[in-house]
Amino acid sequence: MDSDDVKIFGFWIYLMTDLVIFAVLLAAFIVLRTSTFGGPTGHELFRMPFALAETLILLSSSFTCSLATYSVFQKRTNLVIFWFVVTFLLGCAFLYLELTEFSTFVLRGASWRRSGFLSSFFALVGTHGFHISIGLMWMLVTIFSLWYQKLSEAAISRIFRLALFWHFLDIVWIFIFTTVYGMEHLMNRFI
């Protein structure tokens, strides 16, 4: 089956559909960002340093993921494993920060039940976090399969798709960061 080129094309199309899902969640957030119903606003809740840290971690993980892909082209399996482990750890750090943020909000009474604004925030960022988790699981499976099997054509194609997925999630995060945290910060400065 001629398929690696076909599989990558198909995967791109799947990524576009995932993008539409995020677009809907983002649109919901934009519509509901002022629907705080007297509850906490983004201005009160979001901490820029925190969000910035999450962003830098994710960007770095995207970079290390590229290094892993580069190592694939060089056929250096050990290096591939190494960079994927680093990416995995960075991804876990991102998730840890995100879950910390969520639990802080919930403990302050700013849970997803409080207002439309908070609901849309948790739905958007939570869905992104869920995708990150799937990506991390995929990375684990890849790491283990690389450890026990050699780098076949099919494996290379799969790694390439994983990298696409991971970069995609990074790009989505840029949008989320800008719209959710960035704009809140900017709007605050002008008030």
Partner: protein
């Protein structure tokens, strides 16, 4: 806490105890029992598993889609009959159905007909015909094809499961609009059944859409440029563009609604910052492209049928392609016309109204092109052409009603009335359903190897056509009489009842048409030996599917054809068909049960989420993930059919 983990919201009440839930449960069990007995007696369980259920052959999957769609069609028609009966007798009385039950019936009627019947039939026909028409052996992703079908089937089982467990379906209308579908107004599990059955089948449709898009872009036979593709492939491609853009919106919206209900969020609720209008916007951003997803493949089928039965090239191929693309693009820009009455203001309303009007232009162009194809052709009126003629008559009337409603002030009067109901049934039945009937009667010989009884086919057509007009013309009029849709009873002083009765008579005629079609299939199967299609080309066709035997071998083509023009098969016939000299090895995908296993886990997860049974939901999710991992590690998903074996099969079928 313990109870939640294992049983969720399930209580003893979930056991069927209404007349209709008991009745449905008994029928389902009875049908299942008959099927199981038959399979056991004829020792065909293994055959069923190996030849059909685990198959990755798009022809097999296509047939399964169509059988599934047919079963759901019966369910949807029973719903329709119950609706009609209620409205016929409910003048100054509550009829025989309580209001809530009646509302559940039309909700499930709509969801079943849109998600499972029309999409099921279209995916079935596309699976069969698209690979054959582009000179391919299979879709781009055979495993995904199987998975997509089984997810749709899982959704179909889930949407019927409420009869057996729970007793209530959603009563909100087919789109489960918020805030009616929120916990405040609908605390039961009915809406959740709707959400999860639609999520499963929506995911199946999305996967199928991706699959067909990649197939059409990447798997065409050498020489077949985009502008040489048959029009059915073109419109299927446009349909996939709509599927991959719109279905994620449905997934996200239903997901948000579910979050509102499951986690107590406030995206679409009344109060606490929820926005009801947001649901309408999102759901129709999916909903409008959806109806074009349903109609575009039919347009393509009609193009093929008219060309074949006029023995002539289709007129204006380029125009038809442009029209399909125009319709695809415009369909993204009109969603607000579904809620002009929400008060968006004249500027916004006019914009969407005018863009809606624009869609009439490419649609009209298509109709002119079809008529011009017939012009100076040599017409034979076999039953596919009957369905085409019926389509033009019926669909045009529905389209006129649509153009009328594109003007906001006109819509203010007829929105949510039976005029609206008549409009969309006219376009869906006249366009999509007649298209399905046309396509099935056209390609039936190819799929089965024998022809359908023409006489019964034509009789069925007339019954459907007459029945359609008798049942839906009164609905247009009822709209003008101030009759709102979805009413479970009304005052006799409205004067509506005679029209409802007329409409019911039409329904009975339609049922006669449906019964005639079933009889037609039975008779055709019975008489199949006398009506074998030995040439593979019973209609003197123009496109590549007719170059194969009827039915085609499981690998479609012994040698992938090299295409030199549009209507490639017609050209080959005119210039003389060449004999194959040298056979080649063929690589084919193996059967796999993974599609079933993943869909099974997905089904249990969906069911668990409906009833909030946490443990089962986690088991379902973990099961899906493990299956996906196992599948991805599977290195031997294909096998090779040697050239020698191919030659054997080919010579056997030529002599057999």
């Amino acid at each position: 806490m313990n109870r939640d983990l294992f049983l969720g919201k399930l209580t003893i009440d979930a056991i069927p105890h209404h007349w209709y839930t008991i009745g449905a449960t008994v029928s389902i069990l009875f049908m299942g029992l008959i099927a199981a007995l038959f399979l056991t007696k004829t020792r065909r369980w293994g055959w069923l598993w190996k030849e059909w259920l685990t198959s990755t052959d798009p022809k097999r999957i296509g047939t399964m889609y169509m059988i599934f769609a047919l079963l759901m069609f019966f369910r949807g028609m029973i719903d329709a009959g119950m609706i009609w009966l209620q409205q016929t007798i409910a003048a100054d009385s509550q009829g025989y159905l309580a209001a809530d039950h009646f509302q559940q019936i039309f909700t499930s009627h709509g969801d079943i007909m849109v998600f499972f019947v029309t999409m099921g039939f279209f995916f079935g026909l596309m699976n069969w015909i698209v690979p054959l028409q582009i000179g391919a052996r299979d879709l781009a992703f055979p495993f995904l094809n199987s998975l997509g079908f089984w997810l749709t089937a899982a959704g179909g089982i889930l949407i019927n499961l409420f009869f057996v467990i729970g007793g209530d379906f959603a009563n909100t209308g087919w789109l489960a609009v918020a805030p009616l579908s929120e916990l405040e107004f609908n605390p039961g599990v009915g809406v959740d059944y709707l959400i999860w059955s639609l999520q499963l089948s929506g995911l199946g449709s999305l996967l199928a859409g991706i699959n067909f898009m990649v197939t059409i872009f990447k798997k065409r036979a050498p020489g077949m440029s985009l502008m040489k593709m048959p029009l059915f492939v073109w419109t299927s491609l446009c349909s996939t563009v709509l599927i991959i853009s719109a279905f994620p919106v449905l997934t996200a919206t239903l997901f948000l609604l579910w979050l509102d209900r499951f986690l107590g969020m406030h995206i679409f609720t009344v109060g606490l910052g929820g926005n009801q209008m947001l649901y309408f916007n999102f759901i129709w951003m999916w909903g409008h492209p959806e109806v074009y997803i349903l109609i575009l493949p039919a347009f393509g089928m009609y193009s093929e049928i008219v060309a074949t039965f006029s023995q002539k090239r289709v007129f204006g191929y380029v125009s038809l392609v442009c029209a399909a693309i125009a319709i695809t693009l415009l369909s993204f820009l009109v969603w607000l016309h579904h809620f002009f009455t929400m008060g968006a203001g004249a500027d916004v309303n006019s914009f969407f109204g005018i863009v809606t009007l624009l869609i009439a232009i490419p649609t009209g162009v298509q109709i002119f092109n079809w008529i011009l194809t017939m012009f100076r052709g040599r017409l034979t009126f076999a039953s596919p052409m009957y369905w085409f003629m019926g389509f033009i008559c019926v669909f045009t009337l529905g389209g006129m009603a649509g153009v009328l409603m594109a003007s906001p002030p006109a819509d203010f009067q007829v929105h949510n009335s039976l005029f609206l109901v008549a409009h969309f049934h006219t376009t869906i039945i006249g366009g999509a359903l007649f298209g399905i009937f046309a396509g099935i009667s056209y390609w039936f010989p190819k799929m089965t190897g024998f022809t359908l009884n023409e006489k019964l086919g034509k009789r069925a057509f007339w019954l459907w056509l007459i029945g359609f007009f008798v049942s839906f013309t009164p609905l247009y009029l009822l709209g003008f009489m101030g009759a709102t849709r979805r009413l479970d009873h009304y005052a006799a002083t409205t004067g509506w009842q005679p029209l409802y009765i007329t409409s019911m008579v039409g329904f009975v005629i339609i049922i006669c048409g449906l019964l005639t079609q079933i009889w037609q299939i039975i008779v055709s199967v019975r008489d199949r030996k006398q009506n074998l299609d030995t040439t593979g080309d019973p209609w003197n066709g123009r496109t590549l599917e007719w170059s194969t035997s009827s039915p085609p071998p499981f690998y479609n083509f012994a040698l992938i054809p090299t295409v030199m023009s549009r209507d490639e098969f017609w050209r080959r016939k005119k210039e003389g068909l060449k004999k194959i000299k040298k056979y080649e090895d063929i690589e084919l995908p193996k059967n796999t049960g993974m599609g079933i296993y993943i869909s099974g886990f997905a089904f249990f997860m969906g069911f668990a989420l409906v009833w909030q049974i946490l443990l089962l939901a986690i088991v379902g999710l973990v099961g899906i993930i493990i299956c996906l991992i196992l599948r991805s590690l599977d290195q031997e998903a294909e096998y090779v059919l040697t050239a020698k074996e191919v030659k054997q099969i080919e010579t056997m079928s030529a002599h057999g």
